[in-house]
């Protein structure tokens, strides 16, 4: 059983560092939200910071890649994202087209490099 879940320490980490710090904002929204104006300056700022943090997460995976992604050279990782983004814009914001072309470039580049 302990193999299945990992150790109890990992479960405690999930709760303390993951579940609670994440859910607290949903529950605050539930408890305090009815009085807030959606267009207020505070919420616009919060949304901008939250978006920028998400951008930071994206950049972190590309700059300090985890696991198997580290086997792909940096230029190829960045190139895949740039090409994917260009296709995304050209296809009038098709997420699917952007993801497929980014993946394709990365795989083609890796195959070409051997």
């Amino acid at each position: 059983m302990s193999d299945f879940f990992g150790d109890w320490h990992a479960l405690l980490l999930l709760l303390v560092a993951g579940v609670i710090p994440n859910q607290i904002w949903r529950m605050l929204g539930l408890w305090l939200g009815s009085g807030l104006d959606e267009g207020s300056d505070l919420l616009v700022w919060v949304k901008a910071v939250a978006t920028a943090i998400l951008a930071g997460v994206i950049a972190e995976i590309l700059v300090h890649p985890p696991g198997a992604l580290a086997s792909v050279p940096g230029l190829l990782r960045y190139g895949a994202v740039v090409v994917g983004f260009i296709v995304f814009v050209l296809t009038r914001r098709s997420i699917f087209a952007g993801v497929v072309s980014g993946e394709f470039l990365m795989l083609a580049g890796k195959w070409w490099l051997g």
Binding site: D3, F4, F5, G6, A10, L13, L14, V16, A17, G18, P21, N22, I24, W25, R26, M27, G29, L30, G33, S34, L43, V44, W45, V46, K47, A48, V49, A50, T51, A52, I53, L54, A55, G56, V57, I58, A59, E60, I61, L62, V63, H64, P66, G67, A68, L69, S71, V72, A80, G84, F85, F88, I95, G98, V99, G102, E103, M106, K110, W111
Partner: protein
């Protein structure tokens, strides 16, 4: 997207509304984005040596892709619990305005707060976006049941994808494993760009990407937080300046 008319007797039973909500996951491209994102998260959990059950439990209880990725990558890179918790909680702040925006769409004068707890839990970018699209076609008194169904359907997709990604990462060659891990930044970048309708959000996205490499030079353990607050605040300032006095 085909729903019965608002006054149809098909909406009378809450269970039926739940089923309509669950089936509605077929009508959104975001289901595919969610699937792809969670494949990446499952693969990441495998490559950083977390167990499959741990990864599934995280998907069920955290239910926010960015928070899960931050949690996994910070813990795996040796950050302390406090550093991970801070990075996760900052990334989760964006859930607050989403919940605030979603709940009024299904509240009636009789609605009790505890009836909305599960809706708040399911609220994340996918549900938030789709509520705007689906809920006008759902009678107000059945919206909570509908959203419970929609949220359950999306969570099911997330759980299945987490397991598939985990197993794929365990069994694939290095190149295909890398391709799966690359899905996460691509899917997040494009879905966020698509949802950035206002200047402040688009700027925050671009500046956030540009400032992270600078912030990571500080090697503080809070790099994402530092670049995020800086980029978000600059974007907000530009937004205010453009708006004028």
């Amino acid at each position: 997207m085909v729903f019965p008319p608002l006054d149809s007797p098909q909406w009378h039973r809450p269970l039926r509304a739940f089923a309509f909500g669950m089936a509605a996951v077929r009508w959104t491209i975001l289901s595919a984005v969610l699937f792809v994102t969670y494949i990446g998260i499952g693969a990441l959990a495998h490559d950083t040596h977390f167990s499959l059950a741990w990864a599934l439990l995280a998907t069920l209880l955290v239910w926010a892709g960015p928070a899960q990725i931050i949690l996994i990558s910070t813990l795996a890179s040796g950050a302390s619990v406090v550093q991970s918790a801070i990075a996760v909680t900052v990334s989760a702040i964006r859930l607050f305005p989403m919940v605030v925006a979603v709940l009024p769409m299904m509240r009636t004068p009789e609605t009790k707060r505890r009836q909305l707890v599960l809706v708040a839990h399911f609220t994340a970018v996918t549900l938030w976006v789709e509520c705007y699209r689906f809920l006008p076609h759902v009678p107000r008194e059945r919206r909570i049941a509908f959203v419970h169904g929609l949220g359950s359907g999306l969570a099911l997709i997330g759980l299945v994808a987490t397991a598939i990604g985990y197993e794929l990462a365990a069994n694939l060659t290095q190149t295909l494993g890398a391709a799966i891990l690359l899905l996460t930044p691509l899917a997040f970048l494009f879905s966020t760009a698509r949802n950035s309708r206002e200047l402040a959000d688009g700027l925050a996205l671009g500046l956030g990407l540009a400032l992270y490499p600078l912030a990571s030079l500080l090697d503080s353990g809070l790099d994402i937080l530092i670049s995020g607050v800086a980029a978000g605040t600059i974007a907000f300032a530009v937004h205010k300046w453009r708006e004028g006095p």
